[in-house]
Symmetry: C2
Subunit: 391 residues, 2 copies
Amino acid sequence: MTATTQPLAAAHGVGRALRPTGKVLPEHARAHNRSLVLAHLFHIGHASRADIARSTGLTRVTVSGLVAALIAEGLVEELGVRVEGKVGKPATLVGMRTEAFQIVAVDLTDDAHLLGAVMTLVGAVVDRRSVALEGRTGEAAADLLESLCRDLLAAATRPVIGVGIASPGVIDLDGTVVQAPNRGWYDLPLAARLTESLGVPVHVANDANTRALGEFTYGSAAGSGCMVVTIGEGVGAGIVVDGALVLGRHHAAGEIGHVTVVDGDVRDEPPLGCACGRSGCLETVLSVPALRRRTAGLSREDSDAALASVGRLLGIALAPVVSALDLAEVLLSGPPELLDGALRESALATVRARTMPVIGHGLALRMGSLDEDGALAGAAVLVLSGQLGVS
Amino acid sequence: MTATTQPLAAAHGVGRALRPTGKVLPEHARAHNRSLVLAHLFHIGHASRADIARSTGLTRVTVSGLVAALIAEGLVEELGVRVEGKVGKPATLVGMRTEAFQIVAVDLTDDAHLLGAVMTLVGAVVDRRSVALEGRTGEAAADLLESLCRDLLAAATRPVIGVGIASPGVIDLDGTVVQAPNRGWYDLPLAARLTESLGVPVHVANDANTRALGEFTYGSAAGSGCMVVTIGEGVGAGIVVDGALVLGRHHAAGEIGHVTVVDGDVRDEPPLGCACGRSGCLETVLSVPALRRRTAGLSREDSDAALASVGRLLGIALAPVVSALDLAEVLLSGPPELLDGALRESALATVRARTMPVIGHGLALRMGSLDEDGALAGAAVLVLSGQLGVS
DNA sequence: TTTGTAAGGAAGGTCTACTAACAAACGTGA
DNA sequence: TCACGTTTGTTAGTAGACCTTCCTTACAAA
């Protein structure tokens, strides 16, 4: 080979930008720093302006200005003087007014009911409503959703900063439902439409992703890399890498329910047909109905063995993902009586056995810390993040 | 269930920031916009100030200021007047001076030699040097690397903007080699040390990751999500999600070589022992030595069958990753005579058979567009990105 | 020759955050 | 008791970055 070779690409028209970046204006910096202060108060609870200045790196002057703006907006309030007696002028504490505003959250995961709630900014449920779908799909389902949102907005006892919706299906960044077969929605600009008709900002995201966001913000999921596997009628997942949700090329990231895990030529397990038209999918063994069928009428011992064998299949599917992303945690979300036992332990043992020690050793595979309200909590996070830049 | 439940978390001390954000100052905005203009010129080749203003969204005035600064730094030059006659004052084109500076890149992938090159900003190799390691490890290997860098810096015919190094092993964001067993390096702050001793900015990253960066910047890899699987003495991968490399909890993302793919209870393939102390790892069947052993002396037909069976194992390992991340592309980097045939086709067919149609259908699984200089090109991208904000 | 279009630059205004300086409030120690 | 140091939060002034507006230059088309 000669010392001088052809350029790897022509000088002109080489490649594309690594990250689709746009211009940054001073006002963007302002908005960023405002969110920085607000997020700090959200997570810490309360602090003095000087405290915030120290932990953000901004000057006291700048922080005072930002806090004054936040107080003017009603998002922050002064909480009086700090009692601890140290030297110097006592600090006046400020805190986010987490009880002064509310969020409306809706969970569309269930095939039979729409579940909604009025929540505080810290994820507490203030009021709940649910309506039966009674087979409605398409336009009728969307209308029912809108009326549920109106009910919840009317039920709120404080100003509502936004509506968050967790929906099954493929949903893009604008909150357009690309496809949600169970609801009969295709290319439905749900967020835009409801924002218009309700007069309140509406955010929509996939339910598994939302659940991951909820675990991440209100729960204890690791930000460096974690995956929340949601097990219900189907099996899905939301993945957080470097503090951001992974969306994927078709906004279909996390769709691990239809990865083949049961091969035709293996031992005694015949692959089962799946709703997706193929067979041997993870969902055919790991969905709640499949697990209930499999363990029905079995003794505790036999049931545990059956759950362990499913856990092994889950572990086999997880191992490559955990290795490739060097994940810190995998959380399971679903009925604990089925998941939090032999299944979980078997899955963890399998992942550890099938990955490098450095990766598998520190891995945690545990139940999510949120209960069935996980998707609602995540929907609330959509609003917090979208409207306040807090999460 | 009562309508009002406990908060999901206390109002104080809830969660953590979704993304570890810091303060943003106006000067950061300036630097960002400067990189934006430079990156535009890097990718487009040449354009008028007004063109840049239109495509970045900045005003002509701002772009003129940024371009003037870049010209003063010697990074950009005026290229004369555009010939195409349209109405209005003709535009004066400006372009990045891609030939006016050079980059030194070093590839430490090989166990026997250190490979280095002087490169232009567009990834063309101007000069090469290589030195035999002759068994050196630890301090001696680091010293040899430093002297190679000095040789290359002396061989450069233009000012060098930085040194990029692609090394095997686990490497953190600061360019510290956490562990690289083959080189005998543990917690070695390589980038800081060489930056100090060479007097030039030095960037270090994992070789599989740099290869992914190279494919991404100079090649044609998809930014929405792609994975570059490097197959050599070992098997590794670099993953780009949403335009950014995935690093992982222990900076060990991409280590898919040690995922178990051959089970003890399956058919006729006995799992082979692996250097990692376990058995059945992907690397035991997919590394170049393993492939050569497996196909040695076989007829073309038998060899293809053997390669196809390995491809199937690769596909089984890739399917969960492709599904979970909804990847657009998987690229293979390594000897084409082994990879670009039955192995690749079998792997693609296997991934498609084991994933949802929407995910597998549009997936591309092809050879990387860069040759054995891929790691060098990626190392150059480290410098472009680190020093100029261009990539 | 006139008219319209477009490029590039100069002047002035707004926004942002910083530094410097200061008053208020409190503990400490003589 | 009172001066002093420490810490908080504010005021005033400065530097940087971008914007809008206006101007000159330069060319094509009528």
